[in-house]
Symmetry: C2
């Protein structure tokens, strides 16, 4: 009760004060420059979120970027100005249009159900963790949104007169269509919206269920549906031909491609009406239960405060000193790293089974949205370090998926394996976690699933090219499709095999260790000494000719490579950088070629294969200072505090995790190898609060006592002992203590 | 068990023999010439039916009549040849496109989900009550369908190879769109399909629920949805752009405008696969319960036999002698009079409440689909005479609707008052039934509802023009819309008021009797002595000028009249034909003007206002023979045994009831007046088995002993007593006995 009174007081004060790190987060970072983050309200790892949606109906003056144009994967783009609602299921930093559904929109005056017409420009925009607000110019309505883990809460402050709240189930970012809506009462709507076709894979489709509840009974309500274009005599007679049909007072389920529901109110001046929307991936009943469990009454201040506190709890694991700008960059990066994977189970534990239509039940968190080709590189190592209890659950969820479907996840989306991107990154994610000390999961099942993907020659969901790979030691370029580059795929397989080997070793499976170590070493078969590149090779053993290492730089098809060119992939053997250095002619040649990569513009900060390259200087004695230099230059060049403060698509937090690690002065270069590369932090100091349930140390302090990192660099001390190499093993680091850069 | 064994034996014999009158029924009658009947399998007053659907995709050679063309209200047209499935909810003889949904279609070979492509011509077509069969030419599949009250059963005999059964929930006769489908297992599908927008009234929409169950598990299955036309970059990427998208193995609910589901099978030669579809207007659960209750296993022969027996029971109330052609005409007419109103309640008694979205429950039959402007004239009197227990239930349902919605039905469709056509025919239907001895209903509630419609000046659902009518004694032409002819409406109001008066009298409400009798007599205000017509009058009291009594003959707008012209309405004062005769100048002038109506081509056999005109000769002494002559001429001219054997739209059995009465030699000319006009029957003899729970007599025999009816006519005896007038009151007639025409 005291707690409620406190929040009541806080609400009356109208401003909630957070003294925690959440106040440094700027959710607008990444909303321009294709960052694909959204500025909406979201609980850490929340299933639901509430984001402004401004990507429909492109107009040069209002919305220069349109959702169906230019492979847009964003619900909100900072340059756009025409808002058509607040979407309640949103992905952050993915590369294809998906979700962005259940658009809630307040309007006033004469009821208009056409989003193209009822959309509005907006002003007075603000966003912070768990909160977004803007004024809708056309209606003089103040919109505020916040979120729990599985529900959104919107508060609209209306002028006096006729006001409406529309719930549009047609418009959305997803390319999938269709849904059903039912007005349950004058305070409640329920329904379902289909999503899917992620990255234009047509087979991955599923429904999302919702219950929307209003703080005030509507005076009028109804559903609507866009009617088709009729023909012949019918066209003369039907009242709604190729236009939106209103179904006033309709109380049955209404299904269709493009539907919605409206609630209308006679509002007093400054009257606030709130709308809760609970979401579930299993049923309408569970959506209602989620809503009931996570929101009691309509307590906007409390819901917002809960979200802020949840963010403070997680962000507070890292305390930092630095400039205000750096604090914003760091905490926003951490924030963006803590959105996906998100929970998907209902409050009663129901969740969609992996790769099938049924429902499972769990008494722990079930995570979903694993963009593992991206995130296995640094998001999961970051979670392992700072949030081992969360990473444990993420590994457990991934292993549960293997139990349910037979396969570990690769690009898992809401219970569906979308098979987007290449390789077997789930293997690397789990092995790396195990080696870092995340052990509370069924490693036997995980290991068996890894071996299945590594060895099953036919109908291999994760490694479709495994048969050739087993025979030849590489994936030949001969039969590759446009998005399964043979070199890229091979390199991912080598890395996955390395991870199996390392896990096998830890599990005492010596024979497997030997086998998979040998397989991981096969990368040498793709090394072309002539060009110094990892080069596409044919089944016959001949190199692909002609061969242009620059090809693919602008996303044009490049045989052998996916999302990059030969340069981007040339050092992508993280499990054997020393070996690669030898192949490339030794330290000096290696550094020269690294430099050339950057200096020739062939380093791509916006994509994953080469994002560890700045740290590779650490592998050459005396060259670690170049890592610091490169990292600081890259941050300066590509990151910042504006909406364009990410270099490109955040890839469900991968760019952000890169930034967070990089600002702290350490980076996990190799999945399956628990060494962090160390380099001069951008921050003045960092204190990481380690979880003593997992790690012996309770804290790690990183002190930046350097004055100049542009040349040569100084010593790195760990607990007053100077390190011989600019690396520190995870096991050592989590003993706790102090790293000092001098 | 014995019963089941019997049917098993019957099934083995493959042919079911009916010795009853059902064998005379030809369901193809009315399937051409806009009769709008369907040849499908339907149980008497059944909710569900299974009809071939051949009105999609007009092509000059295959389908000259297209469903979206020419205000088509038919699921099947005899001239068409391209079948796209078997629809499971069908209306018989209505004037606007509606229902015709849940299209089941067997195909073979490569799966094709586009109805335009998977449709087929057909041959070897046969139909009889409860049964329809045809061979689908393209697939060499024999299709047979039968029906229970709430479910259909289809049996498809496939060739060897890959076979499919498609359930299309997009295509349909209804103008409403949208639905949802869920594959429950490899033997079951459930879902919902929206219907409505009846007669282009956009507000009348509702869902219909179904469960489909297959006799064999599918080897493969999936759902489909027609995807929209995508724009911009999306259009380049999506695999299904403005085309049908298959969702293989999809097991979630799939919603959309244009959806369906397929089941695929490897079939042996001549393998039979059966599909049951249960229907409900309240829920999927009830659709399943309806199916479970009405079909045990997949017993095609038994379901068909049950339907035939049900038809024989009802048709057998009338035994007739006559030519084979006349037997077919008569029993088919009776068959068509016994389709609507149909039951709508589930086996557990649930039904959709009238005019609202909720569900009621009853332990008796709840009827629906009341096209009362048509059927109050003769369908309900026919039911009152031959099936008083059914008519009792129909009245009880209508009164229950008044309890639920405040208003008696007018054109009630599946719980929705569509407000199609004019007047207050529910009042006439109920008063007439009461006066005929149908008394087991809440007459007080009925009477109150009648009075409300008769007197409520504002927001009057049934009599929107009542305010003027109360003030002026007629509906003025000044403000009329295109479909609420002021004269037509006034005449219906007079007749309704007459019925209230007659009921008031029977209930001892003398004052109401006087009041409403006076109101009914106001038809005189519309009689224009100059033209001899009932003529549109302005609010000022002036006649509408100019005035062309022929206008409206071809359905062009005619001020004052709906579905007709002044000629069609000129004698439409059935409650005071003697008074009208006086107004028209006496007997001779009246007969001359009646003759002129027929002889000038201004009699319309296809529509209701004038269908009693041939019987009006009976009101003039010595002229009854002209009735016989006209009636026999009209039957000869407009009715027959071919698909064009109805003069036009059957109007939910009204044309058929006209024929059935007319062939028997009696006709109920005036609702609220229980006299039958008598005239020479077309049949040799008729024996009506009266229901002794309602009527004192157990049988009525009508003997046609005439040899020539072309002139003067002979005597009419009732129980050996010569009648002074060619009328017999219902109360007398149901004493039973014998009418003989000599």
């Amino acid at each position: 009760m005291n707690r409620r009174l406190f929040f009541l007081a806080a609400a009356l004060c109208s401003q909630i004060v957070t003294a925690g790190p959440a106040e440094y987060v700027d959710p607008f970072i990444g909303t321009s420059n294709f960052g694909a983050t959204h500025p909406g309200a979201q609980y850490p790892h929340g299933l639901a979120s509430v984001s402004p949606f401004n990507v429909a109906f492109g107009q040069p003056d209002l919305n220069p970027f349109e959702k169906d144009d230019a492979w847009n994967s964003r619900v909100y783009i900072h340059e756009n100005r025409f808002l058509t609602g607040f979407s309640h299921l949103n992905l952050s930093g993915v590369g294809c249009p998906e979700a962005g559904i259940m658009l809630l929109m307040p309007t006033t005056g004469k009821l208009n159900l056409d989003a193209k017409e009822y959309g509005s420009t907006y002003s007075s925009e603000q966003a912070s963790p768990g909160y977004y607000t803007a004024r809708l110019d056309k209606y003089d309505v103040k919109a505020e949104v916040t979120s729990t883990a599985r529900s959104g809460l919107s508060r609209f402050t209306f002028p006096a007169g006729q006001s409406h709240i529309l719930l549009n189930l047609g418009l959305g970012l997803t390319n999938e269509t269709g849904g059903s809506v039912e007005i349950v009462s004058n305070t409640e709507i329920q329904g379902v919206r289909n999503i899917g076709t992620f990255c234009y894979h047509p087979e991955n489709v599923r429904p999302v269920y919702f219950v929307a509840r209003f703080s005030r009974a509507a005076e009028d309500f109804g559903a609507w549906k866009k009617m088709p274009a009729y023909k012949n005599v019918e066209a003369d007679w039907v009242a709604h031909n190729n236009s939106i049909k209103p179904y006033a007072n309709y109380r049955h389920p209404l299904s269709g491609d493009d539907i919605g529901a409206w609630f209308s109110f006679d509002t007093q001046k400054d009257e606030q009406i709130q709308v809760q929307i609970g979401i579930s991936f299993t049923s309408i009943e569970n959506a209602r239960a989620n809503l009931d469990a996570e929101q009691q009454g309509f307590d906007f201040a409390s819901v917002r405060q809960n979200a802020v506190e949840a963010w403070d709890r997680l962000l507070g694991r890292a305390e930092i000193e630095g400039t205000a700008q750096h604090k914003t960059m760091f905490y926003t990066a951490l924030y963006h790293s803590l959105l996906h994977p998100n929970i998907i189970q209902d409050v009663n534990g129901d969740y969609p089974l992996m790769g099938q239509s049924g429902t499972g039940n769990t008494n722990e968190n079930r995570y979903s949205v694993y963009s593992l080709w991206d995130t296995h590189r640094n998001v999961h190592p970051l979670l392992s370090l700072l949030y081992p209890e969360i990473q444990t659950q993420m590994v457990r969820s991934a292993v549960a998926m293997a139990k349910e479907s037979g396969w570990l996840p690769k690009w898992e989306l809401y219970g569906m394996e979308t098979r987007v991107m290449v390789g077997d990154p789930g293997t690397a994610m789990i092995a790396d976690s195990y080696l870092r000390g995340i052990r509370d999961f069924d490693v036997d099942t995980a290991y068996k699933a890894m071996i299945r993907a590594a060895n099953q020659p036919k109908d291999n969901l994760l490694r479709p090219e495994i048969s050739d790979y087993l025979k030849l030691g590489y994936v030949p370029v001969d039969d590759e499709g446009p998005y399964d580059g043979s070199v890229a795929t091979s390199l991912e397989y080598y890395l996955a095999d390395y991870n199996i080997a390392q896990l096998a070793k830890a599990l005492g499976k010596e024979e497997d260790f030997q086998t998979f170590s040998r397989r991981a070493d096969n990368y040498r078969k793709l090394f072309d000494a002539t060009t110094g590149m990892l080069r596409p090779k044919k089944r016959s053993g001949q190199w692909l000719t002609p061969f242009d290492p620059e090809l693919g730089r602008n996303f044009e098809p490049a045989p052998g490579y996916i999302e990059g060119n030969a340069w981007n992939y040339r050092f992508y053997v993280p499990h054997d950088t020393p070996g690669l250095i030898q192949l490339l002619g030794g330290n000096e040649a290696f550094v020269a070629q690294l430099d050339a990569t950057f200096d020739s513009g062939n380093f791509d900060m916006t994509n994953e294969p080469d994002i560890t390259y700045p740290f590779l200087y650490n592998y050459v004695d005396g060259q670690a200072w170049r890592t610091s230099l490169r990292v600081h230059q890259l941050i300066e060049q590509y990151f910042g505090t504006g909406p364009d403060g990410l270099p490109g698509n955040d890839d469900t937090g991968t760019m952000s995790a890169w930034l967070a690690f990089s600002m702290m002065g350490l980076y996990p270069v190799t999945p399956g190898n628990t060494d962090y590369a160390l380099f001069t932090p951008l921050l003045d100091s960092v204190t990481l609060h380690l979880d003593t349930r997992y790690y012996p140390g309770s804290g790690l302090v990183i002190n930046n006592a350097t004055t100049d990192n542009t040349e040569q660099g100084g010593d790195i001390n760990f607990n007053q002992r100077k390190l011989k190499k600019p690396f520190l093993d995870h096991k050592t680091l989590v003993q706790g203590g102090e790293i000092t850069f001098k």
